[in-house]
């Protein structure tokens, strides 16, 4: 197991290096510069600024300097945000994205599992059809439609919630619904189909032949065996949701990471682009690693040794 994690870790470092290089090259290949602005600045000031940020040096040197700083844990300072350090910007905004993301993940998994289990237990009966219709709706309406509808109905018309912001616990309700609707639906369908299959397997017959009640069979025998695909999906979901949804953050005026990412690109704020990209990548990789580890915990047949999942 430890060898496996180490190996994965080395692999992660390598992918990260490629990612950094590619982003650096692409970023500089795009026309425009962080120092361009509508205001006319004199030649001299422009020169001074470029020298200050090191933009006057050849690209390869800039790249070297960036890597050197990065290894020392320095992500640089933003070129647009008044000398704020990139890691501070990320830290401040990630707080919001993380909180909302975690709430959404828990909601997605819990609600998705419950809907999926109910559907599987009442396969082809009313409850099944009902929750699958909900799931299709959840999957097919994009969050950028759900969010304003929720805002209009629940915040403007009924005034049960704040329209935007993320200050009190209640403020999490609307963005959470908007953010998790699709994943709830996805998880529900995933659980339903695997569980229907699992409920037809031989060991469920064995469990029945022991005289266990229906709910015990689902809870003890079927659920765990139906969780594997969800665990896989969770890796992606975590990375996706924790890092913040640009759309949702925009709609609910949440100062999260997603918002800064979009801004950094349109501003050509090189250090911020690099910083957030690296941060995203690391989160994504860690999520995948956690999902792999969770896999082992859920299914004892998967024993990891030296990178191969053996019998």
């Amino acid at each position: 197991m430890i060898r496996y994690v180490l190996k994965k870790f080395m692999f992660m470092l390598m992918s990260l290096f490629f990612l950094i290089t590619a982003t650096f090259v692409l970023m500089n290949a795009v026309p425009g510069s962080p120092l361009q602005s509508e205001k006319a600045t004199s030649e001299q000031i422009q020169k001074n600024l470029e020298a200050y940020y090191g933009l006057d040096k050849p690209l390869i040197v800039q790249y070297g300097v960036y890597l050197k700083n990065l290894v020392q844990g320095d992500l640089g300072i933003s070129m647009k945000k008044k000398f704020q350090a990139v890691d501070k910007i990320i830290g401040d905004s990630f707080k919001y994205s993380l909180k909302l993301g975690l709430v959404s993940i828990v909601t997605s998994v819990v609600v998705g599992c419950i809907l999926g289990i109910i559907s599987a237990m009442y396969h082809r009966k009313f409850l099944d059809n009902f929750s699958m219709i909900l799931a299709v709706i959840g999957l097919s309406i994009p969050s950028l439609v759900i969010a304003p509808v929720l805002q209009y109905l629940l915040a403007v018309k009924i005034e049960a919630f704040e329209v935007a912001g993320l200050n009190r616990p209640m403020d999490y309700v609307l963005p959470t619904i908007a953010l998790s609707a699709a994943s709830i639906a996805f998880i529900a369908r995933l659980i339903r189909s695997t569980m229907i299959e699992v409920l037809n397997s031989d060991f469920i017959k064995t469990a029945k032949s022991k005289g266990l009640a229906g709910h015990l069979i689902v809870w003890r025998h079927a659920l765990r065996n139906s969780m594997l695909p969800v665990v896989t999906f969770l890796g992606f979901l975590m990375a996706n949701v924790i890092t913040g949804s640009v759309v949702i953050e925009k709609i609910f005026a949440i100062p999260g990471l997603g918002k800064f990412f979009v801004e950094s690109v349109s501003n050509r704020d090189y250090p911020l682009i690099m910083g957030i990209t690296i941060f995203y990548a690391v989160i994504l990789m860690i999520s995948r690693l956690l999902a792999d580890i969770a896999y082992v915990l859920v299914d004892p047949r998967i024993r990891i040794s030296g990178g191969k999942a053996g019998k």
Binding site: S201, D202, F203, K205, T206, A207, K208, S209, K210, G211, L212, A213, G214, R220, H221, R224, N225, V298, D299, P300, R301, K311
Partner: protein
Amino acid sequence: MKSILDVQNLSVSFAVYGGEVQAVRDVSFDVKEGEAVAIVGESGSGKSVTAQTIMRLIQTPPGKIKKGKVFLDGQDLMSLSEKEMQKVRGNKIGMIFQDPMTSLNPTMTVGKQIMEGLIQHQSLSGAKANERVLELLTLVGIPNPETRINQYPHQFSGGMRQRVMIAIALACTPALLIADEPTTALDVTIQAQILTLMKDLQEKTKTSIILITHDLGIVADICDRVIVMYAGQIVETGTKHEIFSNPQHPYTKGLLKSLPRLDQAKDEPLIPIFGTPPDLIKPPQGCGFCSRCDSAMRICETEIPEQTKISDTQSVRCWLQHPYAKEQGSDAGKEASA
């Protein structure tokens, strides 16, 4: 001796596209205390459906118990509620399935899987249940029970898993054990071990056994009595001796002829039963075996033969053995057995 299980006129069918498969048709038999009864018959003859109906494990729908009663110790299982039935399953009847590779939950330790039934039916405490599980593992011949109890099914071989299944089925010392082809999925040497184990356990626990198989060789090993099923019906029953030395139904005779024998010359071919069993969506009006029978008569096509008693313990559903046929001095029967 007292019957522990009494099945009366059981009929079960499944709704399928384009009709209804009549999987079990008017089956009646009983199992006495401490007796081992074999149900034999080729694939699709309704053996598993019969067994699973006794346990009420068939899915309804598509399955449907059309009629019949199943008395276990005087209690009609078909009239019980699902809740009441749960108290019977695993407690009064234990069941072993065909494929030990898929019959155990891969994500739960073997110990826990055996323990479940005990906790459910005997409300044993954790420590007591643990003790009993160790005892059971030893009983079914699993070495190092203390380590094995915490292992997962994938750490066991096929034969070992079937031993675990036997431990699960016997955990609450049920009055009846139903084993549905318990050795079919195992290789030959392991088969013998599992059968020996079952025989030993039956002697020790005095449990009645219903053993489902299509291997007559196994029957000779452990069973006292044999029920031969064909196309959803019981065509012949009798003691092991009667069935092996004096089979009456052409199908039973055919089964025996298709079995290799020790005294058989090496180059003497085995004789298969030609043809295929009838379609159970439209079961034949008369005897189900009619179309494959060498000595079929006109009446065989139109009327289902009644049970004819051959002895106190043997009876057969065949027109050749019917008292009328005997009276007429028909020698068709003799020809068929020749």
